[in-house]
Symmetry: C2
Subunit: 201 residues, 2 copies
DNA sequence: GGCATATTTAAATACGGATTTATAAGTCGT
DNA sequence: ACGACTTATAAATCCGTATTTAAATATGCC
């Protein structure tokens, strides 16, 4: 019976949206009670949707950043809702603006403990200073992502621009660590009580 | 080979000292740089000694509260030092004022885990609400103390006025819990790596 | 150019504060 | 009369904050 491979789940998608028109943020802030806008502090107007929990930073230039989505469908729906909200409050923005995924954050599980002290010696572009932060910071160049690796075998993969890159990075990392012999893989059946990470590779 | 019995260590002694003269706290605060005195907030002047770490609350009436001592000798020495400090800064207090121990706090170890859910049902004058506080609160009437009992077998005994009462309370508690069958006593040798609680009964 | 401001998200470790208990002192508010 | 303020102390659990990483956005400061 072999052990399972790595799994991951997308936790956060950061996307930019180009509304294509300039916006009067002062006016918007007046009309939108839920908006937070303090230009002395930060030049963007902040909107927070709740279902799902997705936030947006809206700038005078008509550029918008949407954060918090866990999948592309939620992202799309949130952009729709934001556009509607803006249109309903006087901003003439297009129905179907361009959306660009800029960052995907995924958490993952290698299902094996990791010897971080050894790993940092054997991996290139790795940093591990446990007194500063309990994870090993690994910069993978292709795909170009950063992966935080914890002793428990849990990881965070960040900087990807597509799910394909996430999947590839997680698998590559797993293969590398296995080859380096820094994984403590326990043999045994796959005991699952509730699925914490859904995507398996 | 039988297991060991309970042990304890005195952690804090609270004592009152009657200096027998009224004091000018404003003047004292001026002269004593280390003094903290904010009468709007609290009517006492606060002094903190460092070796050992013992604090004093000094009141206009010449009454004083000393806290932090872990044994009577440290308490006596602290009172001497405080008297000297006051005399050196113009307060005509007697050399050898009356000292009265008002509270002794001791931590202890029953060297056995405790079933708190069962214990609270079987003990009189016991309260256990783990969502509010992780210890069981047990009020012993003779000696009149309060004992906090934790699942690990560690305890805090508070309210005693003499070490004799502490010792008696800890032993009584141990006997009661043993009799009630809520202690998980592990048989085995006495494995000590550094003495955490010194007084054994 | 770099840093800060702000948004989001996971991982895991550390730290501080809070909780509870007793006790004396003295002052204020209810 | 009671509760709050203050001081000290242990136990153990919870919560919040911080740490790190990425990315876009835009404004201000050095």
């Amino acid at each position: 019976m072999s052990s399972r491979g790595p799994t991951y789940r997308i936790e956060n998608i950061v996307a930019t949206v180009n509304l294509g028109v300039e916006l009067d943020l002062e006016r918007l802030a007046e009309r939108l009670m839920m908006a937070e806008y303090n230009p002395d502090q930060f030049p963007g107007l902040i909107l927070r949707l709740t279902k799902p929990r997705i936030s947006a930073l809206i700038f005078r230039t008509g550029k918008m950043v949407a954060t918090g989505a866990k999948n592309e469908e939620d992202l799309k729906n949130a952009v729709k809702a934001l556009v509607k909200l803006l249109r309903d409050h006087g901003a003439e923005v297009p129905f179907d603006p361009e959306v660009q995924i800029q960052n995907i954050v995924a958490s993952g599980n290698l299902h094996a403990e990791v010897d971080l002290e050894q790993a940092v010696l054997m991996l290139e572009n790795a940093m591990y200073e446990p007194e500063q932060f309990p994870g090993l910071i690994y910069r993978m160049s292709s795909p170009r992502v950063v992966i935080l690796i914890f002793g428990s075998g849990k990881i965070v993969c960040t900087g990807a621009k597509s799910e394909k890159d996430v999947a590839l990075a997680v698998q590559k990392l797993y293969n590398q660590l296995k080859e380096l012999g820094v994984l403590y893989i326990e043999e045994g059946g796959e005991e699952e009580l509730g699925e914490e990470f859904e995507e398996e590779l």
